[in-house]
Amino acid sequence: MRQIDVSQVSRALAEMAVEANCYLGEDVCGAIARCRKEETWPSAKDTLEKLEKNIALAAERQMPLCQDTGMACVFMEVGQEVHFTGGSLEEAIHQGVREGYKNGFLRKSVVADPIRRGNTGDNTPAHIHYEIVPGDKVKIVFAPKGFGSENMSQIRMFPPAAGLQGVKDFILRTVEEAGANPCPPIVVGVGIGGTFDRAALMAKQALLEPLGTHHPDPYYRAVEEELLERINGLGIGPQGFGGRTTALGVRIKTFPTHIAGMPVAVNINCHVSRHKERIL
């Protein structure tokens, strides 16, 4: 058994909260730069240039890229040979988020109750997903999720007869209905199969994959590529002001499902598509 003190987890998360919110990943920066070069519509090009200025400024001043520094989504891949010591792992995760959001001057965007509201004041609790995997390492992925885009996400339980066509139509309709609201250019995460909850989880995990990577199955890779092309033919454009660049990427995750069903979840992310990874 490998022993890991939970304070290491807190420390890592406190740092990752700041890094994720102030420094955009190279994959996203690269995609925005590429789209700016390829964009033919002048006002859209201009908007993309401003997004690049914002990315540079945020890094230079260590300032959040966006004021919505998100709900803290934490994905833990824990090796089964690991033994956590020094207290509750769950509490250590919340503590890391608490410290990162306080010391990093990040916004506290969490309310204690969904109906009765009331800001918790420290951006906790985090939303945590655990997975037990072979080995003696711990992988932590921190993904602050803004709700301008989260609110535009949808899930639907299709009958198998809806087929691939039904899935594609649903994804396109979700993006079109979202329009300017989720801060395009967006990233589209899709989960197909599993159960109701599994589909939603896969859609979120799809957003954590680096832009430019694809589903390992060529069948779904082709769907990802076709959907990206069709989404960028909708004309919504950066900020919804018109143009080609509506999405930076479409990523699909799949899982076996029941004979009676075909769940599809679409999780939308804005152009500030944030996630940082660390291995302990």
Binding site: W41, P42, S43, A44, D46, T47, K50, L51, K53, N54, L57, A58, R61, M63, P64, L65, C66, Q67, D68, T69, F105, L106, R107, K108, S109, R117, N119, G121, G148, N151, G179, A180, N181, P182, C183, L234, G235, I236, G237, Q239, G240, F241, G242, G243, R244, C270, H271, V272
Partner: protein, 193 residues
């Protein structure tokens, strides 16, 4: 006037006189200087509750500019943290009432309801779009910021912002033209030329 995005950016002074916005059109870039107020979900709910009880509002609505935003905390020595717009439709249930009481402009991002569009047209107001997700860039135009009400709401408190050349685009003008419809159509039409 400053040349911007290929068009002359119109300079607007806040509080904003209706006559200053009657000629701006959907798609026009503008630069706002003066005093604007942040208010988002929870603050709007409270403002409307105060109106129900005939209480005086914490800032004058007449000719006001409301910015749908909840900034990040300011670092020491800075007036404000990141300060981009939040999605506007969540304020749709409250906006027509505020427009009818004299509100001149709302700054946010994203589509508005038909009721809001009608209230903008009826009152000669305007809806402006700031760039969503450009919070660091926009923060540079905020010179001073202070809380005027609802401090307990944290990021949702109402803040007065003194801004200089705050960049925005006219999304819905006083005639009800909507850039989200026009911009998309113009782009798609250009492809078939």
């Amino acid at each position: 006037m400053e040349r911007k995005e290929g068009k002359m950016a119109r300079r607007l002074k806040a509080p904003l006189k209706k006559e200053d916005i009657k000629d701006v059109r959907a798609g026009d870039p503008v630069l706002i200087s003066g005093l604007i107020y942040t208010a988002r979900d929870a603050a709007h709910k409270r403002l409307v509750e105060m109106l129900e009880k005939n209480q005086a509002l914490p800032f004058p609505l007449e000719e006001a500019v409301i910015y749908y935003a909840g900034p990040t905390p300011a670092k020491p020595g800075q007036p404000i943290g990141s300060a981009g717009p939040t999605t506007s439709y969540r304020m749709d249930p409250y906006a027509p009432r505020l427009l009818d009481l004299g509100l001149s402009a709302m700054i946010g991002k994203g589509q508005r309801s038909d009721q809001v569009k009608e209230a903008i047209r009826r009152n000669g107001g305007v809806y402006l779009g700031a760039i969503g997700g450009a919070g660091a860039l926009i923060a540079g135009t905020v010179k001073r910021a202070w809380i005027v009400a609802f401090e307990d709401l944290g990021p949702e408190a109402i803040r007065a912002l003194e801004v200089e050349d705050f960049p925005a685009t006219v999304v819905i003008d006083s005639q009800g033209n909507d850039l989200y419809e026009i911009g998309r159509k113009r782009y798609l039409d250009s492809l078939s030329l």
